[in-house]
């Protein structure tokens, strides 16, 4: 799949944002007054910024409001609904924290659940797709949630907690890649079943339908070289999990927060880029492209 920058920004930033907001909502980052304002504003900025980024890849952003309508069946719609609802529910909590209304933690707790749900919805947009076997697995929502939580903890300067989360995330990533690499094969689709020609023999592409390009090839048949992929995995692992884990464990809070946060975001982006770039859509079979890269 084509790694669109807007989608990478969206999913990394909003994931981070909702993770951070969730911690705020849960009251695990205990801040009041102006510090609270800046914390909440930071969380909102990440989440909203991410959401806004996602509209950049829409053909008709002016109609984006319509996307809230299909929550009964569509994870994308649910994600939108969940995100907005969560941001609304958390607002009183933020106000209370900032202005000291003392409304307790009720909104925050519900909102934190909402944050989790939103991130889950985001992940499910991908995980629901049988057409992309690498994504169609529980490890995808787990990873998204893992990123959200880890990112939140790092930004919260949660020290060892952040280290533990980062290590967990690292394991999760490694696991995800391992199962992901065999996912296409396990899905049991190949050119023969894609064309119904299995009875005849082994089909291979003779000629592409068009020598010119098309949307499908640009959008869904993005082939990343194996060596390139391995390199990026290492980078993602080191930056998203390794460095933050170490810095959270070893460095003082502020340097840990800055170094770990930046590193984590970078790693997340690398992971997310790879998440798309490595994902093979079954339509690639028709073009003889799927499963050829790995």
């Amino acid at each position: 799949m084509k790694p669109a920058p807007s989608v990478i920004l969206f999913s990394t930033l909003s994931g981070l944002g909702f993770g951070f907001l969730a911690l705020l909502g849960l009251g695990l980052i205990a801040v009041q007054g102006w510090p609270a304002f800046f914390h909440w504003a930071f969380g909102y900025a990440l989440a909203v910024g991410g959401l806004l980024a996602s509209t950049f890849h829409l053909g008709h952003p002016e109609r984006a409001w319509r996307a809230f309508s299909q929550w009964r069946s569509s994870w994308l719609s649910r994600e939108g609904v969940a995100a907005v609802a969560t941001l609304l529910i958390l607002a009183p909590q933020a106000l209370s924290d900032w202005l000291g209304f003392g409304w307790g933690q009720g909104f925050g707790l519900v909102g934190a659940l909402g944050c989790g749900a939103t991130v889950l919805c985001t992940a499910m947009i991908y995980a629901q797709l049988k057409t992309v076997p690498r994504w169609h697995h529980w490890s995808v929502p787990a990873t998204y949630l893992g990123f959200s939580l880890t990112g939140g903890l790092i930004l919260a300067g949660a020290g060892l907690w952040a280290s533990v989360a980062a290590l967990g995330l690292g394991l999760l990533l490694a696991y995800g890649w391992r199962v992901g690499d065999g996912a296409f094969a396990r899905a049991g689709v190949d050119l023969a079943s894609a064309t119904g020609l299995s009875g005849l023999g082994r089909p291979q592409v003779f000629e592409q339908p068009h020598t010119g390009g098309n949307y499908l090839m640009r959008e869904m048949i993005y082939v990343v070289g194996r060596r390139h992929a391995t390199k990026l995995r290492v980078i993602a692992l080191i930056f998203a999990a390794g460095i933050p884990a170490l810095s959270a464990a070893l460095l003082p809070v502020l340097p840990a927060l800055i170094l770990g946060g930046a590193s984590h975001l970078l790693g997340a982006m690398a992971q997310r880029w790879l998440f798309f770039a490595e994902a093979e859509h079954v339509v690639g079979l028709y073009y003889g492209k799927a499963a050829s890269s790995l």
Binding site: M1, H57, L58, G59, H60, P61, R63, A64, R66, A67, F68, S69, Q70, R72, S73, S74, W75, L76, S77, G80, I125, Q128, L129, K130, T131, V132, A187, G188, V189, L191, S193, A194, T195, G196, L197, G199, L200, G201, R202, P203, Q204, V205, F206, E207, Q208, P209, H210, G212, G213, N214, Y215, L216, E219, M220, H281, V282, V283, Y286, Y287
Partner: protein, 247 residues
């Protein structure tokens, strides 16, 4: 709308005969021609006379070479690919806006272009590459099963069939109602063992593909026995025998 109808009155779709498709691409341009001026936004082309031409097509014809498992003669199979109007169409359920829907009356899967935000998710959900985002209109385009032809009262009765079916020179494309067991498409599917594509993905495609008939069967022993041994009997003997048959 994004939920699928529990049941559709008809199941309209295509049967594509891979035994007869010569890969002529007629259905590709006929489809482009009709839909460029028909339902919804035109099918745009980018850089049409340039170095990297690319455009929206609702039907594309692949060509595969198939090597038999027993190592026999290789074959070429031409393979048209368009929307299969799936019963369990994932492209519909993923759509956040309701722009994608499956019609209750005939099962045709359509995009309401006025509601489409161009998010592309439906194209991701479709295993068959049946949806293409138009680069100019920025809405999702797909085969409409020529919904603006098949019921069109401005067309003569015999022309109320998809443009691709009407133009196919070999008659490899058939249109009809799969819910009706007596329709041509149902019969062809039964008689010729029509297959769904990638059934494992649970989309329950309506369209069916008729697999190529067995080809290149090894010839059984020649039925042609020489009239007689020409070497032994000579040409004159052959001529006698041969012309003796004339009476």
């Amino acid at each position: 709308m994004t939920c699928l109808p529990a049941k559709t009155d008809k199941k309209l779709g295509l049967v594509i005969d891979l035994d007869t498709c010569v890969g002529c691409q007629a259905c590709v341009t006929a489809c482009k021609g009709w839909n460029d001026q028909g339902y919804g936004a035109a099918l745009s082309d980018q850089d049409p006379y340039g170095a990297d031409p690319s455009g929206t097509f609702l039907n594309r014809v692949h060509s595969y070479q198939v090597t038999p498992h027993d190592g026999g003669t290789a074959k070429i199979v031409n393979f048209p690919r368009s929307c299969l109007h799936c019963e369990d169409a994932p492209c519909v359920t993923v759509c956040p806006t309701g722009a994608s829907y499956k019609r209750t009356e005939d099962g045709i899967v359509l995009v309401n272009e006025d509601a489409c935000i161009g998010c592309g998710l439906c194209a991701w959900a479709c295993p068959y590459g049946a949806r293409e985002m138009d680069d100019e209109a920025q809405v999702m385009k797909k085969c409409t099963l020529c919904v603006d032809r098949i019921y069109n009262e401005n067309l003569p009765e015999e022309d109320r069939e998809p443009a691709c079916v009407r133009t196919c020179p070999t008659g490899a494309r058939h249109f009809g109602d799969f819910a009706d067991p007596d329709s041509t498409v149902s019969k062809l599917t039964r008689d010729r063992g029509g297959v769904p594509l990638m059934p494992q993905l649970g989309t329950k495609p309506v369209n069916r593909y008729l697999p190529p008939r067995p080809k290149d069967r090894p010839e059984e022993a020649s039925l042609l026995a020489p009239l007689l041994d020409i070497k032994a009997q000579g040409f004159a003997g052959w001529l006698d025998r041969m012309l003796g048959k004339l009476e």
